[in-house]
Amino acid sequence: MTAKPFSFGRLFVYGLLLFAAFFFLAPLYVMIVTSLKDAEQLRSGNLLSLPAGFNLESWTLAWSSACTGVDCRGLKPYFMNSVFMAVPAVLISTAWGAVNGYVLSMWRFRGSEVLFGFLLFGVFMPFQVVLLPMSQVLGFLGLSSSIAGLILVHCLAGMAGTTLFFRNYYKAIPRELVNAARIDGAGFWRIFWRIVVPMSTPIMMVTLIWQFTNIWNDFLFGVAFSGADSKPVTVGLNNMANTTSSVKSYNVDMAAAIIAGLPTMLVYVLAGQYFVKGLTAGAVKG
């Protein structure tokens, strides 16, 4: 590409982009600098001023000893709850979606399109609608206020979306591939494991990121279905920040907020390159 001459149009575009970048990065900047300040600096300084030094004290506090009411164990237990909830829920709902998508695209049966139509409802359903019936179901299963219950809820809530992802991706795989494998002697699960799954890396990544972000950031189900010992980090953060004490320790709140958001950022950085690829990947060459 040849260098374009200067024009006000380009200046405007760059200006707009810079403004947008500033707009989105400013809160992150404030969060980071605030988390590195101590109480003294918070009181005396400006919101945007740089911290005096690299002080990680509020991070330690937020992680392990900040108080929520009388409970002073920091964010750590909630964080671990979220890990124990999110990891299995993400893996199960992704695997479930992959199998559903495989069946709905390659082993169509009478009524499978109708079934898929109903599944699509699940994607667009506001989750508030299911709160009450779901809590009854969890009670009936004896999973109320437990991490296992939350895992079940997230699997059910995410299944429609993951099925949609995989079904549309698998739809682009030529049927002849499945027919060839059938003639070669592979059955339903062999075809899935040996042929379909190895072709699924991009959509697998998309679904994993999507599900992890959704489940980790979820607040509604976390608030509604968790007990005292099974609150996820989003609920923990909210409770910690809302605990009334004599002095608001913004530095600790900011550190806690960053900690709570870190895993999703990390997942996106590690697997994000697949995200765009997977969303745009169409037909499979072969």
Binding site: P174, E176, L177, N179, A180, A181, R182, I183, D184, G185, A186, R190, R194, I195, P198, M199, V284, K285, G286
Partner: protein, 364 residues
């Protein structure tokens, strides 16, 4: 091991009630062990459906299907001991060439050592040994085609099925692979059913050809029979390139020294009982002759190297003539055409069915 294939009364209906579409209407074909049968027809004639039914990928609505004398209706594709080459090759994209070829053996729990040996043998037969570690995406079209055939060969099946395997290749490669398929069939001796819409592939490969149209088997026979004695105008027009010329006319005198009269011409030929018949005459059996009474105006001259095809406008429509390569003729010129009493194909004017009683007259 060569197996026979017996297809009897196969019907296939898609949908039901008013929307039912009958794509196969009672197909009967017997294939002898070691034969190379071609299923040929235009798209939508049901030939691929029939192949899928033989493979077990689709079930027939009705009918019998025996492979090596054994009824295979309701049997899973894997149990039928067949191998199939698909139009898109359907190579497993995440496996290497070697794994692709060995997959069927692996599914049948053949020990690794035996498998390796067999993969090597097949690769040597197809000259793809240097490609065994590659993935399908790294191969050219012709190489993929070879791998697809290798996958089919590896298991030494009872029956080979090909579903338009050459239609994704360029012209030169197609001719090359056509010869390769013929060679492999000769070497392996495995009974083969080959679907194509290309009548040249049909003529060059098949030991017998089954011509299909609208789910009905029109004719089955050796390439020679199909070419020289097509049972109706459809088969006559479908097989052969350029296509056969059809001349609608009237028989004025029937018998050995008859007279066939049509718009713009009269031919003295052995004629069937008329009055209204259609004469089918292949381009190589019409000759240009400057002073013949049947005249036409040259509208197209196509030199192919070996021959020159001349298309003439006559009162009965366009007539194609195969002339010697050195023919010098200009577009717009008027010339005459002659037809001898041999190689005439007579068809009923209204039904298009061959008038077989005339065949005695056109032995070469």
């Amino acid at each position: 091991m060569a197996a026979s294939l017996h297809i009897a009364g196969i019907r296939k209906v898609f949908g039901k009630g008013d929307k039912a579409v009958e794509v196969l209407k009672r197909i009967d074909i017997d294939v002898a062990p070691g034969e190379f049968l071609i299923l040929v027809g235009p798209s939508g004639c049901g030939k691929s459906t029939l192949l899928n039914i033989i493979a077990g990928l689709e079930e027939p609505s009705e009918g019998e299907l025996l492979i090596a004398g054994k009824n295979v209706i309701g049997m899973a594709p894997a149990q039928r001991d067949i191998a199939m080459v698909f139009q898109s090759y359907a190579l497993y994209p995440t496996m290497t060439v070697a794994d692709n070829i060995g997959f069927a053996l692996e599914m049948r729990k053949v020990p690794l050592e035996v498998r390796r040996k067999r993969i090597q043998e097949v690769a040597a037969m197809l000259q793809i040994e240097h490609l065994l570690d590659r993935r399908p995406a790294q191969l050219s079209g012709g190489q993929r085609q070879r791998v697809a055939m290798g996958r089919a060969l590896a298991r030494d099946p009872q029956l080979f099925l090909f579903d338009e395997p050459l239609s994704n290749l360029d012209a030169k490669l197609r001719v090359e692979m056509r010869a390769e398929i013929k060679r492999l069939h000769h070497v392996s001796g495995i009974t083969t059913v080959y679907v194509t819409h290309d009548q040249i592939e049909a003529m060059t490969l098949g030991s017998r050809i089954a011509v299909m149209k609208d789910g009905i088997l029109q004719q089955i026979g050796t390439p020679d029979e199909i070419y020289r004695r097509p049972v109706n105008t459809y088969v006559a027009g479908f097989i052969g390139s350029p296509t056969m010329n059809f001349i609608d006319g009237k028989v004025e005198v029937a018998g050995d020294h008859g007279r066939f009269v049509f718009d713009g011409g009269v031919l003295d030929l052995p004629c069937p009982e008329g009055p209204r018949v259609t004469l089918g005459q292949r381009p190589e059996h019409i000759h240009l002759s400057d002073d013949a009474p049947w005249r036409g105006e040259v509208v197209l001259v196509e030199p192919t190297g070996a021959d020159t095809y001349v298309v003439l406008k006559t009162a009965v429509g366009l007539i194609t003539v195969r002339a010697p390569a050195n023919t010098r003729i200009e577009i717009g010129a008027h010339t005459g055409m002659t037809v001898s009493g041999r190689h005439n194909n007579w068809f009923d004017h209204s039904t298009g069915v061959r008038l077989a009683h005339m065949d005695a007259h056109h032995e070469p």
